[in-house]
Symmetry: D2
Subunit: 339 residues, 4 copies
Amino acid sequence: MAKVKVGVAGYGVIGLRLATGVALQEDMELVGVADVAPTLSVRGLVEAGMPYRFYNAMPENEEKLKAAGVPISGSLEDLVEQCDVMLDATNAGVGAKNKELYARMGKKAVFQGGEKNSVADVFFHGYANYEKGLGQQFLKLTSCNTTGLIRAVDALDRAVGVEKVAITIIRRVADPGDYHRGLTNALQMDKAPSHQAVDLMTIMPHVDATGILVHTPVTHGHIITVVASTRKKIDKANTLEILGAHPRIRTVKIEDGFLGNASLFRYARDMGKLRGDLYEIALWDESIVNSGNDIMFAINIPQESVVIPENMDAIRAAMQMQLTRDEGTAMTNRYLGIK
Amino acid sequence: MAKVKVGVAGYGVIGLRLATGVALQEDMELVGVADVAPTLSVRGLVEAGMPYRFYNAMPENEEKLKAAGVPISGSLEDLVEQCDVMLDATNAGVGAKNKELYARMGKKAVFQGGEKNSVADVFFHGYANYEKGLGQQFLKLTSCNTTGLIRAVDALDRAVGVEKVAITIIRRVADPGDYHRGLTNALQMDKAPSHQAVDLMTIMPHVDATGILVHTPVTHGHIITVVASTRKKIDKANTLEILGAHPRIRTVKIEDGFLGNASLFRYARDMGKLRGDLYEIALWDESIVNSGNDIMFAINIPQESVVIPENMDAIRAAMQMQLTRDEGTAMTNRYLGIK
Amino acid sequence: MAKVKVGVAGYGVIGLRLATGVALQEDMELVGVADVAPTLSVRGLVEAGMPYRFYNAMPENEEKLKAAGVPISGSLEDLVEQCDVMLDATNAGVGAKNKELYARMGKKAVFQGGEKNSVADVFFHGYANYEKGLGQQFLKLTSCNTTGLIRAVDALDRAVGVEKVAITIIRRVADPGDYHRGLTNALQMDKAPSHQAVDLMTIMPHVDATGILVHTPVTHGHIITVVASTRKKIDKANTLEILGAHPRIRTVKIEDGFLGNASLFRYARDMGKLRGDLYEIALWDESIVNSGNDIMFAINIPQESVVIPENMDAIRAAMQMQLTRDEGTAMTNRYLGIK
Amino acid sequence: MAKVKVGVAGYGVIGLRLATGVALQEDMELVGVADVAPTLSVRGLVEAGMPYRFYNAMPENEEKLKAAGVPISGSLEDLVEQCDVMLDATNAGVGAKNKELYARMGKKAVFQGGEKNSVADVFFHGYANYEKGLGQQFLKLTSCNTTGLIRAVDALDRAVGVEKVAITIIRRVADPGDYHRGLTNALQMDKAPSHQAVDLMTIMPHVDATGILVHTPVTHGHIITVVASTRKKIDKANTLEILGAHPRIRTVKIEDGFLGNASLFRYARDMGKLRGDLYEIALWDESIVNSGNDIMFAINIPQESVVIPENMDAIRAAMQMQLTRDEGTAMTNRYLGIK
């Protein structure tokens, strides 16, 4: 069977990881990546010997790109032309503009969480609503926090039913190497309810969700505490069993040295994981407690990499490569090395 | 009526604020403060012209203290001798040792949250159980987070009944100027349930409480999110009415510029509050949301100063200066300038 | 003698401290302060009971200010009208616009370091070139780092002659409570030479200065290391003697507990200094070393308050209140409580 | 020719990178690594499928290691027995104890910067004194800052002669994932002169060096500013030419997006460098300025990986694999992919 041809627009924190993710899928072919300027990420592509072809999405920057030694394989249109589906990881708002191009050329596209929901035909999550994405032209993924959160809530919901969740998002405010945003010695409040809770309800409309988000001056992963009211009361052992069985949830223990978000980053780097990335969220064993009949626990969201698997799922659904959630996510997991 | 004579043991972050607090109570007299070495705080006392008398709690450090120019008014015993009640803000564990001295000299004492509960006859909170402290010899205060949290939960409980609370503590990891502890670019998990939830249940045994605590690398105030199951369902307006009426809770709005914990610190400094200290916790207006029948909100805990009022309450209860919660806390509030 | 009437435009981090500074000068009268919106600082003025009169510099914001309960004493023009001299601490660039108003009304004005040099008749520093400011209409102050640095370099220069300095500025990136700028887990380079070195040469043209500035994610004070080539070689003892004699330089020791920039902030807060502000820079005793014939040392710059004294000096020079550097700075020091 | 057999004692931040470094040297064989407990790094080794054999250096922890699923290939003695040379990256002080074992078994060993100089026969740097290490039994490497700094100073010295250097070390206070040390919103002073300057003089005794070290709350690389007095005056172009020619110095530009230490980490991760590690220090083009006849510039030190190449050099010198500095460092560079 011919491989599905995939392009990536926007070679930033997410885009470059999407490229890696696609390159690992044996039933997909990464045609190339597009960006608009010789950013650090693009310069790294050059120093690494151009493992992927680069397309210039901003013709007026051709001289700058050439001055930086970037070999240009064509325009964004040239890239789209060769692809079956585009993963659009451009800055928020640009995707909506690119959509016109994708539509004109009759291609499918997957947008990231920063775009408005209206950009897409379906707001997608690999585990929660895979089937809704089947054959769709335009899909929008949930953002990093929502993607990880839904993995856990969906798993609980399928096992014992979830009525409502109240979440507290302890958000990392920037990625490693970010200089365009930051926070110094301050926690920052967002107005409640957090958009992640609202987005969860869009994907899982039968669950009542709300939450408060607080930004913190760190870079290696969000932590979310979840208070979930389940239809059937569960305890810590049940929770470990249910969430521990999820391929994209990793259970860790404080007593084993997983002291916080930075431990997971260190662990992945030590192991030699590419870029120190983990695709799984982590559930802390020692965080799980009952609050009356509710269950409360804390999860870690590796913001740079967590959405990669669900993006692969989205391609599989859109291109109807696998027709069921179980088959689609299993194939993604297999190629990404998720056990 | 003769003023109640108060001494402070331990002139650190809490101790020096206790001294200020006592000095403001017109029906108390601050006899002096004791510490063991020429710390920065003690050196500051010297540069400020010795507004309080200093007693040396570690005879072998007399030379060091004199070398630093600290006028010594006597030993710890000399201080205790002159007092009716001691506020013990020494390092955790030292209070238990000092207790022997207080007991031997027949004095009352108030210990801080770092000591074990067994050090005291009653685990005290000015609003939640004032009457339990009446006439007691040894009282232990709740820690900063618990003190602030109980203010809110007790107020809700008295108004509409609280069945259970699930809290997430986003903890500042150090105080401004701390070099002996710190966290750099990391969030750190504590094993659940947090001791603050457990302590709340000790003070308010009819409430079921649990929670997760996450340390964050900031210095200006903890933020706690609370999910409270109330006996009578309340909404945002009710919550604002109930908590807004509490003298030691300040309602603030993100849209007014109170963006996070650091805004409150800045606001207090700008105003000229001594040391930038606020005695009130803050409730964010825009954080209040319903989670089904539960109410969820976020509060800010100024860790350095929040326990000062309840310490004054403790003296009032122990010395039976006022015989009811309302009278005792009102007198404290009046002298501390809390409206 | 009639007091000099002073107004402050811009009630932010610097402006509110200028107001405090003027209020302490017994030979000056603070007419009032002006700003454009109900910022946190302005709200604090209201809660503090309006110790100063407030003037509205942006008529279209009158409703917002009134809604926040701010009593308005008039417009910016009304304030300027009543003053002999304005301290302009508005955002960079606004001062140049306000200058037109000051010029039209025939008033003197002192601008802060953020404005362009061309805004003023003289680029001023109380210790380095007081006499140049005598009787001038428009003066511009040096920025916080430059102000503190020049204190030290000027003192060395007067004592033993300074040929050149090479500085490394370890810059705090935001003030406590800043949410509009920040840096998270990153050091950031500026292009060399730093403007502070260039500015120093403008004020002290006989000194060759250069330097590198690195931003760091902290809020409580810059640290500058200085490598100074003096005409007469000096050692640590000489340096302590020369710099230690400067009223606006405070010598501190690591071994006394002054471990870094945050220790100085804590020390000032502990002492009860208003807002935890120090007017002096600090010189670390244990940082002083010879580099061949050069002398190297580290100083701490309290960025929020360091420029206040030199602003008072500027008023004295502009208004010819004292005709010499020694008399002018001495009077400022006396009223600010600098020994 | 038979490969040189190498073992690594201490599988922490440095040890695991040493293992990777040795594994890349085609003329060396990594026999295995030793540690004392199932740390995160050791757990990562297990999850990664045991690419290296593990030896247990603390027999009493065998149960804990087994419980964590760590396959144990033997004791530390078993590892040493099979090796020609040990790289000892244990905690400071442990190396001195291990030395007895190495001596008893007649093996060579290379110690890291944390050990005392007296542990070794020679204090070694691949570029500055390769020949001194030839055939020696015990070598001690310089610490991360000193290693990077000497690369630059040695290169200048060989080109134009260096008389003295005055350095300011802006030190990262912890590594990513460190929870046992940290600093929150504070800069911290060390007593001058910094040990790095002293160490430089031990390796390069003809250079006068001094410096000041300031700790900063970041994790991705130290920055050092250097003021160097050269025998022959050089300007920016000369400096770029001399330092740019060094294989282990990478020249970067702020205008290309290398804004600070975190940019280099991001760049390396983006490129897919293992663990985001760079072996080269970076020199900022826009930091280079003359200070009179001196040259001043800023370099970045990737603290986790910078010493790996010089450790490989040390093995080459100790084992006399190459007899000259040029041949030894060239072979290391070739196998590590340093151009």
